[in-house]
């Protein structure tokens, strides 16, 4: 038996129950930083590449430029013919690999600026982002842009992969300069969880295996070690939410509501409220194919039975009574434009969120200049633009703020003319009353409620600072807020 097979046998004996949820992550970087090579290397060193794939890979590989006698890893990933021909990645590719400790789903996203939308797609379901850069080149605008998009999409954990360190003579000074510069930038975005790793993806140094020959000075973890211990944000600390996907009526005597718990937990006996109707009921049973359960938590696909017959349809939200989502006609949101035709101000679109389709009119507020990070007022949104909008619903809507619950705070916009998905969005606040703040008189009170995180961001804006003397700011709980608001007409 060859050594390779022996090694695999040993891996198997180590194989223990994978007690961690799979980690979904994205890789981003500029065109030639070697993203595909990095993922290829991860697949290779975790033995996810099979012999026939290797054989095809070697057949397809162009000349060997490095003398390592390895196939071109990038070809593993660039699956579509057009990509193979052009030698670039043009769409999001999902790859899977596992170690004895964990399984991984990686979205390989393109580096070209015009494909920002694909990066946002990959980032939407990821819990961690690897930002790749070339040690010889250092931090580019693109690196910052990707960090900004990933952070906006709710990613909290970052790995700065300082690649091609071999071509920078394994110079510790170079690595540390990049590390410091990036940390300072990241802090300005509110990113605090960053691990920087010097590596050479092509040779596999500090990816899966530690490099002690050239980088003995680096005492931190390898890339795979960081991935294996990355945390996944718990959705169980927020209020109970279950968007109703369908009503299950197998016979006259049974009526159940099917959906996936998208926040908090529920158990039989809990009182719940149905939105938007506001009707209350008690949970009698949590039914799954396997057994009648005594509790369900975020992520579980279940069927709920309630103690009374109430009018509930697809798109309704079943929520805990004491921690409800925000309910209203007007919300503000961050969105990213995904189509060439752009987003047209004041056009009626479809908005889909949590299994619910609604009509919405989008008011464009500002678009971010990805170079400076500043928001500029705008009257149109083009492909790959990211910015702030106001959503005006025709019927009452309910959301959570994206930072608090991404499942119930995210949405897509669909163009009724093309049926295409034209934007992805994240709710940032509910707008209590719609008035132009500059024209408000002394008698008028405008109330904004938003999460603490959002409020902090707002306070940093120049525009806000200019009018801050007119603003009374109060920090409160949702329950107290309701009492407070009930006193206002």
């Amino acid at each position: 038996m060859s050594e390779l097979n022996l090694a695999k046998q040993q891996d198997l004996t180590k194989s223990v129950l994978k007690n961690l949820s799979p980690l979904r992550f994205i890789t981003c970087g500029s065109v030639d930083d070697g993203k595909s090579t990095l993922i290829g290397r991860l697949l290779w060193d975790t033995k996810a590449v099979k012999e026939d794939q290797e054989e095809r890979l070697r057949k397809d590989s162009r000349k060997q430029k490095d003398g390592l006698n390895l196939p071109e890893f990038a070809l593993l990933l660039d699956g579509l013919q057009a990509e193979r021909e052009q030698g670039i990645t043009i769409d999001v590719a999902y790859r899977y690999f596992s170690t004895p400790k964990r399984t991984f789903i990686v979205a390989d996203t393109p580096g070209h600026e015009q494909y920002t939308r694909n990066m946002a797609t990959g980032a939407s379901s990821a819990q961690l982002a690897i930002l790749l850069l070339d040690a010889r080149v250092g931090i580019l605008e693109q690196t910052k842009r990707h960090a900004m998009i990933a952070s906006m999409m709710g990613i909290k954990q970052f790995i700065l992969a300082v690649n091609k360190i071999d071509l920078a003579n394994y110079d510790r000074q170079i690595f540390e300069t990049i590390e410091t510069e990036f940390s300072e930038f990241a802090l300005s975005l509110g990113i605090t969880d960053i691990i920087s790793i010097p590596m050479c993806a092509l040779k596999g140094e500090n990816v899966v295996n530690k490099d002690l020959d050239h980088m003995a000075w680096y005492e931190g973890p390898t890339l795979l070690e960081v991935l294996e211990r990355a945390t996944i944000r718990s959705k169980q600390t927020v209020g109970f939410r279950m968007p109703v996907q369908r009503v299950c009526r197998p016979n006259e005597s049974f009526r159940g509501y099917q959906g996936t718990v998208s926040g908090g937990a529920v158990k039989p006996g809990d009182s719940v409220v149905v939105l938007p109707s506001g009707i209350k009921a008690n949970v009698t049973n949590i039914i799954t194919f396997d057994l009648v359960r005594n509790a369900a938590v975020a992520g579980d696909a279940i069927t709920l039975e309630l103690d009374r017959n109430v009018d509930i349809a697809r798109g309704d939200m079943i929520s805990s009574i004491d921690a409800r989502p925000l309910v209203g006609h007007n919300f503000s949101a961050n969105i990213i434009c995904l189509v060439k035709s752009g987003i047209v101000a004041n056009k009626r679109y479809w908005l889909k969120s949590s299994s619910k389709l609604q009509r919405v009119v989008v008011e464009l507020i500002s678009v971010i200049d990805l170079k400076s990070g500043q928001y500029d007022a705008c009257d149109s949104f083009e492909l790959n633009n990211i910015g702030k909008v106001k959503l005006r619903f025709e019927e009452i809507a309910n959301f959570d703020i994206y930072d608090e619950n991404p499942d119930t705070g995210s949405f897509i916009l669909i163009d009724p003319d093309s049926n295409n998905t034209i934007a992805g969005g994240m709710i940032s606040a509910k707008i209590e009353q719609v008035t132009n703040i500059d024209n408000s008189t002394d008698e008028e009170i405008i109330v904004f409620s938003m999460s603490l995180v959002e409020a902090k961001k707002l306070q940093q804006l120049e525009g806000f600072k200019a009018i801050s003397d007119k603003v009374q700011q109060t920090q409160t709980t949702k329950g107290k807020l309701r009492d407070l608001l009930s006193d206002i007409d």
């Binding site: 579509l80 899977y96 399984t103 049973n285 057994l291 499942d407 992805g424």
Partner: protein, 309 residues
Amino acid sequence: MSEIENHQKPPLEPHLKELENEAIFIFREVAAEFENPVMLYSVGKDSSVLLHLARKAFYPEKIPFPLLHINTGWKFSQMIEFRDELIKRYELELISFTNPRGANENVTPFTHGSALYTDIMKTQALRMALDDGQYDAAFGGARRDEEASRAKERIYSFRTPDHRWDPRNQRPELWSIYNGMIRKGESVRAFPLSNWTESDVWQYIKAENIPIVPLYFAKKRPVIERDGMLILAEDERLELAPNEQIKQMDIRFRTLGCFPLSGAIKSSARNINEIIKEIEVATVSERVGRAIDRDQAGSMEMKKREGYF
């Protein structure tokens, strides 16, 4: 709640539970959003998992759509037996469709070559069956880890009225919010197993005790060697070339399709634990036994654009 059966088992590992939850969500979403869905059922292991998840998704209701089997007429006889027994046991609605051109023009994998045969009896047959039923959504068991072009397939994969897939122009898919808006004649293929790997499928079959066709388990069976593949020699329609001899060998199948095009592997894995062990140390990918993938580079992408699953 006497009508609720008790299927109690030890809890699933977290990564399998997450995959299961995601698949159930997709099933419910499609069933609620489309008027006339159908589930493509190929009788293979992925289809078995898909069927199991569909039963779970709608329970205590029965699966609210029919199953569609594209039968080329050249499937392993064990697959058809297994299919019919399962349909009876779970009281499912099955539509079996065979392209009439097969009989009319005597299209066989031997006479027409694997590429043309597959196009007529699988791709065209599927399009005819979908048109016949006027289905606006079709569930499939495809996984992104199977093949390079599938790695970019969306969960809701949009198809034009003539069933074409345009890989360069796919709808963006963010979070788990799927866009099911289509015009009349257009359709969506939905893939609940997108994020599963072959290893996940086997571990799930084991954990959930899902029945599968016995050909997946190793046994002494009669085979011939042809074009570097081991072909099962049980069907009388298999004509032997003068130099071909039937041998008895311990074999099993990693994927099942039409018997003349499905290569067996030498194996002694007689039960699910042995299969899982075998896969963990396997050094070739599962599609290596599929003749149709080897026709030319990028061959799966070309077939998919034409409407193949």
